[in-house]
Assembly symmetry: C2
Homo-oligomer: 120 residues x 2
Amino acid sequence: MNEKKTKPIPRPGQPVRGSKTGEPIMALFDLMGRRWAMGILWALNKQGPSTFRELQAYCDGLSPTVLNTRLKELRAAGLVDHGECGYQALPLGKELFELLVPMGRWAVQWGKALESTKTD
Amino acid sequence: MNEKKTKPIPRPGQPVRGSKTGEPIMALFDLMGRRWAMGILWALNKQGPSTFRELQAYCDGLSPTVLNTRLKELRAAGLVDHGECGYQALPLGKELFELLVPMGRWAVQWGKALESTKTD
DNA sequence: TCAATCGCTACTGAATTTATAGCATGAAGA
DNA sequence: TCTTCATGCTATAAATTCAGTAGCGATTGA
């Protein structure tokens, strides 16, 4: 009766927004290319297990609507879990975070490069 | 006369959507956490220099509106340039792409992990 | 019972993305 | 010159997503 139209959550092997091939990387881009997805994963790994509201605070007070949506997606993707100590990154989520870390370092260099290039 | 309200493009050192700290990684997350941003960078590095329409085709025919918007952002970010041979990744863009590559490999493992976990 | 915290939903309006059509420019040919 | 074609890109409207705010039901503790 109350068929909540569940939005398909991107998973490798399935067509996703913007790619019908089902290439895993495209599913990942779809999942991570949503507002706050990477930020939440980042916070969760930096801060450790957190409650919903703590996470919200870490993420500059993003709306609970979005936080909850992202958390559902991340859980469906097997990256995050919700247990005793609140939300925490699963092994897969930690692996992915480790791939994000070098991007953090790169971003610093990027900032410097932009400074020396542009003069605005 | 026609003061087009230019959307601020995320750059490290400046407050961005969802983060007032100006942390470079947050600017990067903001930039890349937009639909198709990573996909375009991926295509540009995989396929080499491409015209607007080629790029559009690679990206499953995304709308020119979004493609143009993303390209402007990526150009402002110093990742992509538009020259003789069409659009192409700049050194910074290639560096960032190199950080995306391991994510491509990881995504494959991710897909396998999901298969063996979930049974739907 | 009261207050405080938890995860989370409802609702509304704003922003972003999509889809489609089509314009202006320039090169190449007839 | 007059098409024809490809280029990059804009205009418009509809659909989707996100943000901001209020608040609910459950739990915990005083």
